[in-house]
Amino acid sequence: MTGGVGLSDDPRSDRQLVEDGDFDAVYYRYRDWVASLAFRFTRNHEDSLDVLQDTFVYLASRFPSLHLTASIKTLLYPAVRNLSLELIRKRRRVTLDDAGLDILPAPLEAADDRGELLAALSSLPATHRRVVVMRFVDDLKLEEIAQVLGIPLGTVKSRLHNALQMLRADARTRRYFEI
Protein backbone atom coordinates (compact mmCIF):
# COMPACT_ATOMS: atom_id res chain seq x y z
CA MET A 1 0.00 0.00 0.00
CA THR A 2 1.13 3.51 -0.66
CA GLY A 3 0.24 6.97 0.52
CA GLY A 4 0.90 9.11 3.54
CA VAL A 5 4.34 10.21 2.44
CA GLY A 6 6.62 10.18 5.44
CA LEU A 7 3.71 10.07 7.85
CA SER A 8 4.22 6.47 8.90
CA ASP A 9 7.78 7.43 9.93
CA ASP A 10 6.45 10.22 12.15
CA PRO A 11 8.66 10.28 15.28
CA ARG A 12 5.78 11.37 17.53
CA SER A 13 4.32 8.83 19.94
CA ASP A 14 0.74 7.61 19.56
CA ARG A 15 -0.27 9.76 22.50
CA GLN A 16 1.31 12.83 20.92
CA LEU A 17 -0.48 12.21 17.62
CA VAL A 18 -3.78 11.98 19.46
CA GLU A 19 -3.06 15.10 21.52
CA ASP A 20 -2.15 16.94 18.31
CA GLY A 21 -5.44 15.78 16.78
CA ASP A 22 -3.47 14.39 13.81
CA PHE A 23 -5.86 11.68 12.64
CA ASP A 24 -4.18 11.31 9.25
CA ALA A 25 -0.87 10.42 10.87
CA VAL A 26 -2.56 7.78 13.02
CA TYR A 27 -4.28 6.41 9.93
CA TYR A 28 -1.11 6.07 7.90
CA ARG A 29 0.79 4.61 10.85
CA TYR A 30 -1.74 1.81 11.43
CA ARG A 31 -3.47 1.36 8.07
CA ASP A 32 -1.40 -1.60 6.91
CA TRP A 33 -1.46 -3.27 10.31
CA VAL A 34 -5.24 -2.95 10.50
CA ALA A 35 -5.62 -4.18 6.92
CA SER A 36 -3.49 -7.28 7.63
CA LEU A 37 -5.36 -8.02 10.82
CA ALA A 38 -8.73 -7.58 9.12
CA PHE A 39 -7.61 -9.84 6.29
CA ARG A 40 -6.50 -12.50 8.75
CA PHE A 41 -9.85 -12.41 10.49
CA THR A 42 -12.09 -12.20 7.43
CA ARG A 43 -9.94 -14.09 4.89
CA ASN A 44 -11.53 -11.96 2.22
CA HIS A 45 -9.98 -8.92 0.58
CA GLU A 46 -13.22 -6.99 0.06
CA ASP A 47 -14.37 -7.68 3.61
CA SER A 48 -11.02 -6.65 5.02
CA LEU A 49 -11.28 -3.29 3.22
CA ASP A 50 -14.74 -2.78 4.72
CA VAL A 51 -13.37 -3.56 8.16
CA LEU A 52 -10.43 -1.22 7.54
CA GLN A 53 -12.84 1.58 6.72
CA ASP A 54 -15.21 0.90 9.62
CA THR A 55 -12.33 0.63 12.08
CA PHE A 56 -11.02 4.09 11.26
CA VAL A 57 -14.50 5.62 11.21
CA TYR A 58 -15.00 4.12 14.67
CA LEU A 59 -11.66 5.56 15.76
CA ALA A 60 -12.69 8.95 14.34
CA SER A 61 -15.85 8.88 16.44
CA ARG A 62 -13.71 8.54 19.57
CA PHE A 63 -10.75 10.61 18.41
CA PRO A 64 -11.74 14.15 19.51
CA SER A 65 -12.18 13.12 23.14
CA LEU A 66 -9.68 10.27 23.20
CA HIS A 67 -7.24 10.11 26.12
CA LEU A 68 -4.70 7.42 25.39
CA THR A 69 -3.35 5.49 28.34
CA ALA A 70 -1.77 2.72 26.25
CA SER A 71 -0.77 2.00 22.66
CA ILE A 72 -3.42 2.76 20.08
CA LYS A 73 -3.15 -0.88 18.98
CA THR A 74 -4.97 -1.90 22.16
CA LEU A 75 -7.91 0.18 20.97
CA LEU A 76 -7.75 -0.90 17.33
CA TYR A 77 -7.31 -4.63 17.89
CA PRO A 78 -10.67 -5.29 19.58
CA ALA A 79 -12.37 -2.98 17.08
CA VAL A 80 -10.96 -4.90 14.11
CA ARG A 81 -11.79 -8.21 15.74
CA ASN A 82 -15.38 -7.29 16.58
CA LEU A 83 -16.08 -5.62 13.23
CA SER A 84 -14.68 -8.67 11.44
CA LEU A 85 -16.81 -11.04 13.47
CA GLU A 86 -19.88 -8.92 12.80
CA LEU A 87 -19.17 -8.85 9.08
CA ILE A 88 -18.53 -12.59 8.86
CA ARG A 89 -21.78 -13.32 10.67
CA LYS A 90 -23.71 -10.93 8.46
CA ARG A 91 -22.25 -11.89 5.09
CA ARG A 92 -21.86 -15.59 5.45
CA ARG A 93 -24.50 -16.29 8.04
CA VAL A 94 -22.17 -18.58 9.92
CA THR A 95 -21.90 -18.98 13.65
CA LEU A 96 -18.33 -18.22 14.54
CA ASP A 97 -17.23 -17.71 18.07
CA ASP A 98 -14.53 -15.29 19.05
CA ALA A 99 -11.88 -17.98 19.57
CA GLY A 100 -12.55 -19.39 16.11
CA LEU A 101 -10.91 -16.42 14.46
CA ASP A 102 -7.42 -17.52 15.48
CA ILE A 103 -7.51 -20.86 13.70
CA LEU A 104 -8.54 -19.52 10.35
CA PRO A 105 -5.36 -18.94 8.43
CA ALA A 106 -5.21 -17.97 4.79
CA PRO A 107 -5.52 -21.05 2.56
CA LEU A 108 -2.22 -22.86 2.07
CA GLU A 109 -1.11 -23.07 -1.53
CA ALA A 110 0.31 -26.57 -1.23
CA ALA A 111 0.76 -29.24 1.35
CA ASP A 112 4.15 -28.00 2.52
CA ASP A 113 5.86 -27.89 5.92
CA ARG A 114 3.50 -25.18 7.04
CA GLY A 115 0.65 -27.69 7.06
CA GLU A 116 2.34 -29.42 9.98
CA LEU A 117 2.88 -26.11 11.71
CA LEU A 118 -0.78 -25.27 11.26
CA ALA A 119 -1.79 -28.66 12.68
CA ALA A 120 0.50 -28.20 15.69
CA LEU A 121 -0.79 -24.67 16.21
CA SER A 122 -4.38 -25.88 16.03
CA SER A 123 -3.69 -28.48 18.69
CA LEU A 124 -2.68 -25.81 21.23
CA PRO A 125 -5.30 -24.74 23.78
CA ALA A 126 -7.28 -21.81 22.34
CA THR A 127 -6.03 -19.42 25.04
CA HIS A 128 -2.40 -20.28 24.26
CA ARG A 129 -2.86 -20.23 20.49
CA ARG A 130 -4.39 -16.79 20.66
CA VAL A 131 -1.42 -15.39 22.55
CA VAL A 132 1.04 -16.97 20.07
CA VAL A 133 -0.80 -15.47 17.10
CA MET A 134 -1.16 -12.05 18.71
CA ARG A 135 2.54 -11.97 19.62
CA PHE A 136 4.21 -13.37 16.51
CA VAL A 137 1.68 -12.76 13.73
CA ASP A 138 -0.09 -9.59 14.84
CA ASP A 139 3.11 -8.22 16.35
CA LEU A 140 1.61 -7.04 19.61
CA LYS A 141 3.81 -6.47 22.64
CA LEU A 142 3.15 -8.57 25.72
CA GLU A 143 1.76 -5.55 27.58
CA GLU A 144 -0.59 -4.85 24.66
CA ILE A 145 -1.81 -8.45 24.63
CA ALA A 146 -2.48 -8.27 28.37
CA GLN A 147 -4.41 -5.05 27.88
CA VAL A 148 -6.46 -6.35 24.94
CA LEU A 149 -7.33 -9.65 26.62
CA GLY A 150 -7.79 -8.06 30.04
CA ILE A 151 -5.48 -10.52 31.76
CA PRO A 152 -2.33 -10.01 33.85
CA LEU A 153 1.00 -9.63 32.06
CA GLY A 154 2.35 -12.65 33.96
CA THR A 155 -0.45 -14.80 32.54
CA VAL A 156 0.40 -13.70 29.00
CA LYS A 157 4.06 -14.57 29.53
CA SER A 158 3.26 -17.90 31.06
CA ARG A 159 0.81 -18.82 28.26
CA LEU A 160 3.37 -17.87 25.63
CA HIS A 161 6.13 -19.75 27.40
CA ASN A 162 3.96 -22.86 27.76
CA ALA A 163 2.78 -22.66 24.13
CA LEU A 164 6.38 -22.56 22.92
CA GLN A 165 7.22 -25.50 25.16
CA MET A 166 4.33 -27.45 23.63
CA LEU A 167 5.49 -26.63 20.11
CA ARG A 168 9.04 -27.66 21.04
CA ALA A 169 7.73 -30.98 22.35
CA ASP A 170 5.51 -31.56 19.30
CA ALA A 171 7.15 -33.82 16.70
CA ARG A 172 5.65 -31.71 13.90
CA THR A 173 7.35 -28.51 15.01
CA ARG A 174 10.37 -29.74 16.96
CA ARG A 175 12.70 -28.98 14.05
CA TYR A 176 12.15 -25.23 14.52
CA PHE A 177 13.87 -25.44 17.90
CA GLU A 178 16.84 -27.54 16.77
CA ILE A 179 20.00 -25.61 16.13
Partner: protein, 126 residues
Protein backbone atom coordinates in the same frame (compact mmCIF):
# COMPACT_ATOMS: atom_id res chain seq x y z
CA UNK B 1 7.97 -22.36 36.80
CA UNK B 2 8.10 -19.81 34.00
CA UNK B 3 10.43 -16.85 33.88
CA UNK B 4 8.15 -13.80 34.07
CA UNK B 5 10.97 -11.30 33.76
CA UNK B 6 11.43 -11.51 30.00
CA UNK B 7 9.59 -11.79 26.71
CA UNK B 8 9.57 -15.48 25.65
CA UNK B 9 11.33 -15.64 22.31
CA UNK B 10 10.51 -17.98 19.43
CA UNK B 11 12.98 -19.17 16.78
CA UNK B 12 12.95 -16.73 13.88
CA UNK B 13 12.17 -19.50 11.35
CA UNK B 14 9.09 -20.42 13.37
CA UNK B 15 7.98 -16.78 13.47
CA UNK B 16 8.53 -16.44 9.70
CA UNK B 17 6.49 -19.56 8.97
CA UNK B 18 3.77 -18.51 11.39
CA UNK B 19 3.49 -15.19 9.58
CA UNK B 20 3.40 -16.89 6.20
CA UNK B 21 0.46 -19.00 7.38
CA UNK B 22 -1.51 -15.79 7.46
CA UNK B 23 -0.93 -14.27 4.06
CA UNK B 24 -0.71 -10.49 3.66
CA UNK B 25 -3.61 -8.80 1.91
CA UNK B 26 -3.21 -7.37 -1.57
CA UNK B 27 -2.69 -3.60 -1.65
CA UNK B 28 -5.79 -1.51 -1.07
CA UNK B 29 -6.94 0.64 -4.00
CA UNK B 30 -5.38 4.10 -4.00
CA UNK B 31 -8.69 5.95 -3.73
CA UNK B 32 -9.55 4.15 -0.51
CA UNK B 33 -7.30 6.31 1.71
CA UNK B 34 -9.08 9.48 0.64
CA UNK B 35 -12.49 7.85 1.05
CA UNK B 36 -11.69 6.59 4.56
CA UNK B 37 -10.13 9.87 5.66
CA UNK B 38 -13.11 11.83 4.31
CA UNK B 39 -15.56 9.61 6.20
CA UNK B 40 -13.44 9.92 9.32
CA UNK B 41 -13.29 13.72 9.04
CA UNK B 42 -17.06 13.87 8.55
CA UNK B 43 -17.48 11.69 11.62
CA UNK B 44 -15.20 13.95 13.70
CA UNK B 45 -17.07 17.03 12.44
CA UNK B 46 -20.41 15.49 13.45
CA UNK B 47 -18.95 14.68 16.85
CA UNK B 48 -17.72 18.27 17.25
CA UNK B 49 -21.13 19.67 16.27
CA UNK B 50 -22.93 17.31 18.65
CA UNK B 51 -20.64 18.50 21.41
CA UNK B 52 -21.27 22.16 20.54
CA UNK B 53 -25.04 21.61 20.43
CA UNK B 54 -24.85 19.89 23.78
CA UNK B 55 -22.94 22.85 25.21
CA UNK B 56 -25.38 25.33 23.67
CA UNK B 57 -28.32 23.37 25.11
CA UNK B 58 -26.75 23.24 28.55
CA UNK B 59 -25.96 26.98 28.44
CA UNK B 60 -29.51 27.83 27.34
CA UNK B 61 -30.96 25.66 30.12
CA UNK B 62 -28.73 27.35 32.70
CA UNK B 63 -29.80 30.78 31.41
CA UNK B 64 -33.47 29.79 31.68
CA UNK B 65 -32.99 28.65 35.27
CA UNK B 66 -31.22 31.94 36.09
CA UNK B 67 -34.03 34.03 34.56
CA UNK B 68 -36.78 32.07 36.35
CA UNK B 69 -34.93 32.37 39.67
CA UNK B 70 -34.46 36.12 39.18
CA UNK B 71 -38.15 36.62 38.33
CA UNK B 72 -39.32 34.63 41.34
CA UNK B 73 -36.99 36.59 43.64
CA UNK B 74 -38.31 39.84 42.20
CA UNK B 75 -41.93 38.78 42.57
CA UNK B 76 -41.37 37.88 46.22
CA UNK B 77 -39.84 41.33 46.86
CA UNK B 78 -43.05 43.35 46.63
CA UNK B 79 -43.40 46.14 49.22
CA UNK B 80 -45.25 45.33 52.44
CA UNK B 81 -47.77 47.70 53.95
CA UNK B 82 -49.59 48.08 57.26
CA UNK B 83 -52.39 45.78 56.03
CA UNK B 84 -49.86 42.91 55.90
CA UNK B 85 -49.01 43.62 59.56
CA UNK B 86 -52.71 43.55 60.44
CA UNK B 87 -53.19 40.24 58.58
CA UNK B 88 -50.24 38.75 60.44
CA UNK B 89 -51.70 39.88 63.76
CA UNK B 90 -54.94 38.04 62.93
CA UNK B 91 -53.03 34.94 61.82
CA UNK B 92 -51.03 34.88 65.06
CA UNK B 93 -54.20 35.12 67.09
CA UNK B 94 -55.50 32.13 65.12
CA UNK B 95 -52.28 30.20 65.95
CA UNK B 96 -50.70 30.58 62.47
CA UNK B 97 -48.44 33.29 61.02
CA UNK B 98 -44.72 33.34 60.28
CA UNK B 99 -41.47 34.20 61.94
CA UNK B 100 -40.72 37.60 60.37
CA UNK B 101 -37.90 38.71 62.68
CA UNK B 102 -36.28 35.25 62.67
CA UNK B 103 -36.10 34.99 66.48
CA UNK B 104 -37.48 31.44 66.44
CA UNK B 105 -40.84 32.49 67.86
CA UNK B 106 -44.10 33.57 66.23
CA UNK B 107 -45.54 36.34 68.39
CA UNK B 108 -46.43 40.02 68.62
CA UNK B 109 -42.80 41.00 67.90
CA UNK B 110 -43.23 39.64 64.34
CA UNK B 111 -46.22 41.95 63.81
CA UNK B 112 -44.11 44.87 65.08
CA UNK B 113 -41.28 43.96 62.77
CA UNK B 114 -43.61 43.84 59.77
CA UNK B 115 -45.18 47.14 60.76
CA UNK B 116 -41.69 48.70 60.97
CA UNK B 117 -40.91 47.43 57.45
CA UNK B 118 -44.14 48.94 56.15
CA UNK B 119 -43.28 52.41 57.38
CA UNK B 120 -39.67 52.41 56.15
CA UNK B 121 -38.74 55.09 53.61
CA UNK B 122 -37.63 52.52 50.96
CA UNK B 123 -41.18 51.26 50.66
CA UNK B 124 -40.79 48.29 52.95
CA UNK B 125 -39.02 46.04 50.46
CA UNK B 126 -37.93 42.83 52.19
Amino acid sequence: MTDDSRDPEAPSRLVDDLRSLYAKPPPAPAHLDAAILNRARAQMLRHRWRKRLLWAGATAAAACVAVVTLLSVQSSSKPVDIVDALKLAHQIEAGKGRDVNSDGKIDRADVDALAMMAVRLNGGVR
